[in-house]
Amino acid sequence: MLLIHCPYCEMDRPELEFRYGGEAHIARPADPMATSDETWAEHLYFRSNPRGLHAERWRHISGCGRFFNCLRDTVSDRIVTTYKAGEARPEIDRGAA
């Protein structure tokens, strides 16, 4: 079973305790009423879908309950690192992973 490091529990926990939460670092436009339809649609529906490192949200729902962020390689499915919500995406080179 895949073990995921929860940055709040500070331990490796089984993947069954987690739920995926979509791409991370997506900022909601501060004033939706003043946002063009294109920008709003972009915010709602368009995601980067990269081949390689992907920053994504996960929730330790059957554990501490916290959302956190994770860098996962979409080719190998390897989770490179996890970090707390609110923290900046770590600068990690995919080759070094």
Binding site: C9, P14, S62, G63, C64, G65, R66
Partner: protein, 187 residues
Amino acid sequence: MSDRSVAVAARRGPLHAVSLPKGETFAVTRAPDAARFVLRGDPAGVAAFGPAAPGMLRASESGSRAALRLGPDEILLLAPGEDAEAIRGELAAKLPAGAHSLVDVSHRQIGLVVEGRSAALCLAAGCPLDLRPAAFPIGMATRTIFLKAEIVLWRQADDRFHVEVWRSFAPYLVGHLSDAHAGSSDP
């Protein structure tokens, strides 16, 4: 009322038709009726309840009261059932206003005591955590899963766990624990 006998339908709880494993190496018993609260906010607020503020994924106890730190700001408070009303009043008076939430979840779940030499072995049949004492020491408490059911697991001794499970999942949990014990190499 006339003296005719009146038909009654009384609920007997989630485990009334379930036989609990009861042996030397493995036993499951129903924990006494408890008052349960979920406290969200600064863990230092636990002091108003009694026990010291527990560290992350740890339990702290004081007399008959226990506090289980399930998350950074989430603490499950356990106390004897008859204390529920008193606790609500105490905490409302002692907690700093506006900084906490306190929710009574007494009847959402039931407590089970899983004990015996095979307790960790049988729990490990459905719980993917490492339950060896080095990885899951006495005093550790966490929310986790047992097969498809979410549980709160608290190790009270090497061979005794307290398990909190939502009431409708209780027969499922006990059934699979019995099954695991029946199929264990240490019957």
